[in-house]
């Protein structure tokens, strides 16, 4: 700070107010204030402001912070069984991507098929699917029924693949027809997928039925063998008993 105090020097006044100036400077300012009403008034007002500030008290909150441990214990390591990477469950994004790829592949297969087929006959496929779905593969379905249905589906598919694409090719003139075609392709693809699915379900039901029969036959055979063995044993025991009784009577 300068040795010569200038009237109105705010920095010097603040230093004086907080009693943070050198003793000689303190005396200099004190002497100035005695003769300067403006600086005296300023110091009085700032001092009164400081006194008022003392009224501002923070709320009396209970604090009581404590550090309870030197080191937080590390969380226990969770041991998980090691799963081979090919058996580990896929993350959701990978599953979604796989589903998308499968769907796209299905669409493209349908589209390829439709380039060589007639316009879709959308009414027929759902009817078949409905019919199949309403007939559950229970014991009431005979193998003949299944074979008949399979034959029907196969013939229908063969008809479709052999039909002419002429009408579709001719219809590719305008956007509307293109849109119609795309819609048709999608519907056709969906119908194909439904049909394939139905066919597979029918095949599966047939396989299950065949397997059931084989199992039943096997069980019967096993039962027969066991019954035979038990019968033989019983016969032998009866013979031994007969022999013992005859010996006693003698």
């Amino acid at each position: 700070m300068n040795d010569i105090f200038q009237c109105g020097d705010s920095a010097a006044l603040v230093a004086y107010l907080y009693d943070e100036c050198a003793p000689d400077e303190q005396a200099l300012i004190a002497a100035h204030i005695k003769g300067c009403a403006a600086c005296a008034s300023e110091i009085d007002a700032l001092s009164a402001t400081r006194r008022t500030l003392a009224a501002w008290t923070p709320p009396d909150l209970a604090l009581g912070f404590r550090i309870t441990r030197e080191h937080e214990p590390r969380p226990a390591k969770i041991l998980e069984p090691k799963i081979a990477w090919w058996r580990a469950p896929l993350p959701a994004w990978a599953q979604a991507a796989a589903a998308l790829v499968i769907f796209a592949a299905g669409l493209s297969v349908g589209a390829i098929r439709n380039t060589n087929t007639a316009p879709p006959q959308t009414a027929a496929a759902p009817t078949v699917a409905t019919e199949v779905n309403t007939q559950p593969a229970t014991a009431s379905v005979t193998p003949d029924d299944l074979a008949k249905l399979e034959k029907q589906l196969r013939s229908e598919m063969a008809q479709r693949t052999s039909s002419s694409p002429a009408t579709q090719v001719a219809a590719r003139g305008s956007d509307d027809t293109l849109l119609q075609q795309v819609k048709g392709l999608i519907e056709e693809s969906e119908a194909n997928q439904r049909r394939d699915f139905t066919l597979r379900m029918v095949e599966l039901a047939g396989n299950v039925e065949n397997q059931r029969r084989v199992d039943l036959a096997s069980v019967r055979q096993q039962m027969g063998l066991q019954q035979g063995a038990i019968g033989t044993e019983l016969r032998q025991q009866r013979e031994v008993l007969g022999r013992l009784v005859s010996e006693r009577t003698r």
Binding site: S10, Y18, T52
Partner: protein, 196 residues
């Protein structure tokens, strides 16, 4: 004989948690008061205070004693307050609730102070809070550190990272603004001013 901060810090650095807890007991009230006055929210100030001690504890191995422990702690708390203010982006000083109940307030203090005095003190406190909230963050912090924590100009300059002259300017301008505001509110009467 009272153990000094430096001794407690040394013990805490050696792994004695209780020594650090003694430092907390010693400094939690001033740090909380600082946080409350700077940010103006009771619970947030409490959180800032807690966070300041937690950070100080974690950073204790790196504390080499270049500054006083209290100055270091104040700096941590002030930095957290600044972060809080930046996050909030709004007037940092809270108001006394309008529906503050005088009876409830009376029960918070001892029986010496009458309810009238208590209400008057609370009102004045609210006026000061409001006036302080109108200052800039730098002016408010400088006044808080000087008035309520008794720091020197140099310590405030170190804390705020500015020259000494800037601290004096902030204090002078801040006090002048407060003075005007308090005069407008009728809190600085000529009688009060003349008491000096």
């Amino acid at each position: 004989m009272t153990t000094t901060d430096e001794e407690l810090v040394a013990r805490a650095q050696g792994g004695d948690v209780e020594s650090f807890n003694q430092l907390i007991v010693r400094w939690e009230r001033p740090i909380y008061a600082l946080a409350y006055r700077v940010i103006g929210k009771e619970e947030d100030a409490r959180d800032v205070c807690q966070d300041a001690f937690l950070r100080a504890y974690r950073a204790l191995p790196g504390f080499k004693g270049q500054a006083k422990f209290s100055s270091w702690l104040y700096r941590i708390a002030l930095n957290l307050c600044r972060d809080w203010i930046r996050r909030q982006r709004r007037a940092p000083v809270s108001q006394l609730p309008e529906d503050a109940d005088a009876i409830e307030m009376a029960s918070e203090t001892g029986p010496v102070e009458s309810i009238e005095d208590l209400v008057a003190r609370r009102e004045l406190s609210a006026i000061v809070e409001e006036a302080m909230s109108e200052l800039s963050e730098e002016q408010r912090t400088a006044i808080i550190l000087k008035e309520y924590h008794g720091m020197t100009f140099q310590e405030i300059a170190d804390m705020q990272g500015c020259p000494l002259s800037t601290v004096k300017t902030r204090l002078y301008q801040g006090l002048s603004l407060l003075r005007r505001r308090l005069e407008q509110q009728g809190q600085l009467t000529p009688e009060l001013v003349k008491r000096v």
